[in-house]
Symmetry: D2
């Protein structure tokens, strides 16, 4: 029925908090979810998931180096993630601080893997952004991300990829 991995890097705890909210969103759709720090995530995890959601703090307007490193190494399985569903979220210190470009950077990596990505016509269009600690707005955005990735995984898993 599909399984979704949520991979994140967090030092201060904000991205982790977002990851847990995304996780809750996936569960609401009754899709199995796995929450993993990037340090604990293997390339084989990527293979085993039908959806991959990646969360990163906003470091110089791009995904954090540790997550980038995981994706660089994922070249080993290039082609094997084709057709999986992806999503991204980011926490940032301030508005205009590079949060959107961080999310776009993650989505670009996923597109290059041949993954499927969905935006949202409401709220944070590319993916949830938290300015400082996640507030109520961010909570609902993160849940919404988890739900929309989960719904897409369900739809697509009903038939052969």
């Amino acid at each position: 029925m599909g399984k979704i991995g949520i991979v994140y890097y967090s030092r201060g705890g904000k991205t982790e908090k977002m990851a847990k909210l995304v996780y809750r969103g996936v569960e609401m759709e009754e899709v199995e979810a796995e929450l993993k720090k990037v340090e604990e995530t293997s390339l084989e995890d990527f293979l085993s998931w039908d959806g991959i959601i990646v969360g990163s703090p906003t470091y110089y307007g791009l995904v954090a180096a540790s997550i980038k490193d995981l994706f660089d190494r994922s070249i080993k399985y290039h082609g094997k993630l084709e057709g999986k569903v992806g999503g991204a979220f980011s926490s940032a210190a301030n508005i205009g601080g590079g949060n959107e470009t961080t999310i776009i950077s993650i989505l670009q990596m996923m597109l290059i893997h041949g993954m499927i990505v969905k935006g949202s016509s409401k709220g944070d269009h590319y993916g949830p952004v938290s300015i400082g600690s996640p507030d109520e707005r961010v909570e609902s955005q993160c849940e919404a991300l988890g739900r929309r990735v989960a719904r897409l995984v369900k739809k697509l898993s009903k038939k052969e990829r």
Copy 2:
């Protein structure tokens, strides 16, 4: 069973040629396709299609103004394109001339509409790029784009969006 619109702007004919190749790719998957110049495309066309593929020449690294104008006006139906499938392609005068960022700019507009976008692990990852006149490589890339959007539309149209 789904219908896909291919909207393009072309002055010199290169983007048009790509559009026709994408069209052929859609037909190969036995999905109905409509080929439209941007000047002939209405916002209601957007509503009637299950997939939207947009082609633009590379003008200052972004989608051409006439296509941007169509999308700016599509705010009228904001939310109504949610869940439709999108794709993009671009022709350019030279390598490094802004072709990839043109494609990304189109995909960003689609994500903000809540659309679904798929990359490719092979070839032109974000979408087909032609440097000068479309050659054999570009032909196969354009067909592949048409096919992958068509396949995704078929998969998703089998159930309620």
Copy 3:
């Protein structure tokens, strides 16, 4: 001694308000400034300015079509803007709504013209972003943008380009 044009598109007045704040920043540096709606801006204005600052509302994550149209037509003078200084700002309805990517889209057009662009290590790194009506934070960001473009124009105009 240099002259800076501030070109903007505004319907609701928010981007216009930002433009006036940017204008004030340029004046603080005692550099001549011109404030122009995009509808009133000619390609010859571009030629006459040493710095060009562009403001746009966030429309589908990219610069508004009317500004894109001006840049598309600027191909007429391609090469003539080489070495001029650029900057960008954007107003948006909500966080994560595409404001950063709108600014980046403007900067990309400028880079393709061979223009010089400077970020900021403080605040809105790529350029000022207003979420809703410009508040105090946005005021200081807009002034700072005007000032940093003006300072760069002064530095560079002291010698031949």
Copy 4:
């Protein structure tokens, strides 16, 4: 009179070859240049240079993880690179393979540091791109990048930053 560092990551040698060509361009302008692999580059090097040019292979459409890691750690000196001149180049396996977005990703990191970046109205607008081994076109593009960064450093170093 200014000094420019060229930092690169290269496994197969293509990016290294480009780096050497960029180096030659800097030297043509009689500006001191330093060529460093990313593994040998310290954050203090960043401080000592007036211009920083970064080269990366195209890995999933973004700068390689090892370079991203250097920039993530550069937060230690955040604010200290303000006003330095930047530039970027990338090698890629194929057209449309993410090379432009790799260069843009590097420029974004530089803008967030408050650095100054210049495009080019000719050739590879954002920065040189090599598809496969650097050919004659790439050679001239790389030299041109070195020269334009060097010229900008010279201009700006004539007065206090």
